[in-house]
């Protein structure tokens, strides 16, 4: 290794390290804050405690919002995945007219300003007399994340050679068996990855949710409301918990993605 190369690598480390610091330092600070008491906007380092976590456990409003967010996320992801799978497989097995138009419509809410999507849905729901509730929120989230899930499913499905489906039919399997034994197993990691991503999108969605939320609220909306009345330290505890769980899921997703890449011929 020449001196120049060594210098370049060192420089890259510095730049990379700085980037990571900018990205993750705020999160680390929040985690730190969650373990220490605050005095006059200063951390009291002498006072390590799990007090905020305890208070979080007692904050029923915050926990209810977290629970709502999780329920909405899971419902939206499951629905979007089923719709995407059915639609993508239908498009795959045969020449379908209007495929481009259908896909354009699916992607549209993802690129449209969220305010437009939100207002449109609000107007539509009011027209059909659907009260604002977690159900309307879930529908809004489905509309948004469908683009992501459908995209990821079709990308994986497109790499699946048609001859594999034909081979399965040729060996005596009907359409359903072919889907269950040949197509679905090969989509497993794509579905897992897209579900994680879509859940993350749903979990912190605020703009569209803002227009659709009813009496029961989601976590980001709750936090937003709390910010206005005053910041309480149990939010730090909550954010830390959410961050750790997210990291865990991200790691799982990365692992499953790597496994699927290695398996591919």
């Amino acid at each position: 290794m020449t001196r120049l190369e060594r210098l370049t690598i060192a420089l890259l480390w510095v730049v990379g390290g700085f980037t990571f610091m900018v990205l993750y330092a705020p999160a680390l600070i929040v985690i730190l804050f969650s373990f220490f008491a605050m005095k006059n906007h200063q951390i009291d380092w002498s006072n390590f405690s799990l007090e905020w976590y305890g208070r979080l456990a007692d904050n029923s409003q915050l926990l209810a919002a977290l629970y709502n967010s999780i329920v909405v996320g899971i419902c939206a992801v499951v629905s979007a995945t089923i719709i995407s799978l059915a639609l993508a497989y239908y498009m795959k097995t045969g020449v379908r007219r209007g495929r481009a138009y259908v896909e354009f419509i699916i992607f549209l809410p993802f690129v449209l300003p969220a305010i437009i999507t939100g207002i449109s849905l609000l107007v539509a729901f009011r027209e059909i007399g659907l009260e604002r509730s977690l159900i309307t929120v879930t529908i809004g989230h489905i509309v948004l994340i469908l683009a992501v899930v459908y995209r990821m499913v079709t990308i994986r499905l497109d790499t699946l050679e048609n001859s594999q489906i034909e081979a399965s039919l040729d060996l005596g399997a009907n359409g359903l068996e072919t889907f269950l034994y040949v197509v679905l197993p090969q989509l497993r990691s794509a579905l897992l990855t897209s579900s994680l991503l879509a859940f993350a999108l749903s979990f912190d969605e605020t703009l569209v949710t803002f227009f659709l939320v009813g009496g029961e609220t989601t976590l980001p909306m709750r936090l937003w409301a709390m910010m206005r009345t005053g910041f309480t330290p149990e939010i730090n505890a909550l954010v830390s918990v959410v961050l750790c769980v997210t990291l865990l899921f991200a790691a799982l997703g990365a692992m499953s993605l790597r496994e699927s890449i290695e398996r591919k011929p």
Partner: protein
């Protein structure tokens, strides 16, 4: 030998019959009406250049593509409307189409598992078939861990384990290198003899077709041009395309004689016009280079003719030597292949070489 073969052919029933089958996409006729009988237990090769419609025929038999018109019969019963998964055929795909998420054993077992065969039976059959294709030690590997030739054999094993009535092979050797190809050709032929199943084999490689097949169906531009044994296709071509498609051939222009309607005139001399080649206009004569021999002056047998050619070139090919000679008034060049010992070493360029051939080896073809 020939008589025995044709007798056997009479006894063999048809397993598949294509009756007036066509395929068109919008206004494009991919396949003109095709009638083809596939006999039980034969190795039939459908041969043609790319775009000739050979794969379309295979896909229609397999059920992947519906015919635009015509019927496909399986032992007399129309199966044109039967879906892929109910047809008793199995296909070896050009890209093998192995399931990447299953081991070799699971791939092979797939057809039997779908048919809900008992686990014990699946196990025995898969083991037996893997033994047949020499892949017993690779049973627990994934397709991505195998070489091209091994994948090819897995695809074959997966097709034969279901004991189909016909095995359809869509250019299965196209992706293999030359040496592997040759050994797979022998393997396939040998396998077909052992399991006595009808093979319908697609290829664009003439040598492959000639060396492996019981019968060859030659296709071009969506037309089925000629069906016959490799010997018939090679020595008795019925069209110019077939005559040119297989190996070296001499194609000579021939005109009807002005005085006698049933006599043709060519650079080689006069020939009687066979009853099958009707119609006026000009014809082509096809005669193989090896059908000529150097005339040694001995007495001609019935149906043999002689002409003289001027030697232009001599090419040593090993066991045979190829001579290029100019014949007739138009100095038409013909190629003659003789055993190297027979050519003699005393031939010089410009020499007049007497050639002998049998009229039976001359094929009169319509020109065009």
């Amino acid at each position: 030998m020939t008589a025995a073969l044709s007798e056997e052919e009479v006894v063999r029933p048809n397993v598949i019959q294509l009756v007036g089958v066509t395929k068109s996409y919008r206004n494009l006729n991919v396949l003109k009406p095709v009638d083809l009988d596939i006999k039980d237990g034969e190795f039939l090769t459908i041969l043609g250049p790319s775009g000739s419609g050979k794969t379309t025929i295979l896909r229609m038999i397999g059920g992947f593509t519906p015919p635009t018109s015509g019927r496909i019969l399986l032992r007399g019963a129309d199966i044109s409307q039967v879906p892929i998964f109910r047809r008793p055929f199995n296909t070896v795909f050009q890209d093998y189409a192995l399931f990447p998420h299953m081991t070799v054993a699971k791939n092979v077992a797939y057809g039997l598992r779908i048919r809900r065969r008992p686990a014990e039976e699946i196990k025995t059959k898969v083991a037996a078939v893997l033994e047949t294709v020499n892949l017993t030690d690779k049973a627990e590997r994934y397709p991505s861990e195998l070489s091209g030739g091994q994948r090819q054999r897995v695809a074959l094993a997966r097709a034969i384990v279901c004991e189909p009535q016909v095995i359809l092979l869509d250019e299965p050797l196209a992706a293999l290198d030359a040496e592997l190809r040759r050994s797979m050709q022998e393997f396939l032929k040998d396998l077909q003899r052992r399991i006595r199943t009808t093979f319908v084999f697609i290829t664009h490689d003439q040598e492959e077709a000639i060396s492996m097949s019981d019968r060859i169906a030659v296709m071009d531009h969506g037309n089925l041009i000629q069906v016959g044994t490799p010997q018939e296709i090679y020595y008795k071509p019925r069209t110019e395309f077939v005559a040119k498609f297989f190996g070296e051939n001499n194609l000579l222009p021939a005109q009807p004689d002005n005085n006698a309607a049933n006599i043709l005139e060519s650079p080689l001399g006069k020939h009687s016009l066979p009853a099958s080649a009707k119609g006026g206009g000009s014809f082509l004569l096809a005669i193989r280079p090896e059908s000529f021999s150097i005339h040694d002056g001995s007495e001609l047998r019935q149906g043999q003719s002689v002409c003289v050619g001027r030697l232009e070139n001599v090419t040593f090919l090993g066991a045979t030597t190829q001579l290029s000679l100019n014949v007739g008034k138009a100095q038409q060049t013909i190629k003659v292949r003789v055993p190297t010992g027979q050519s003699g070493n005393n031939l010089a360029f410009g020499d007049d070489v007497p050639l002998r051939w049998s009229e039976a080896d001359v094929n009169v073809l319509p020109r065009g």
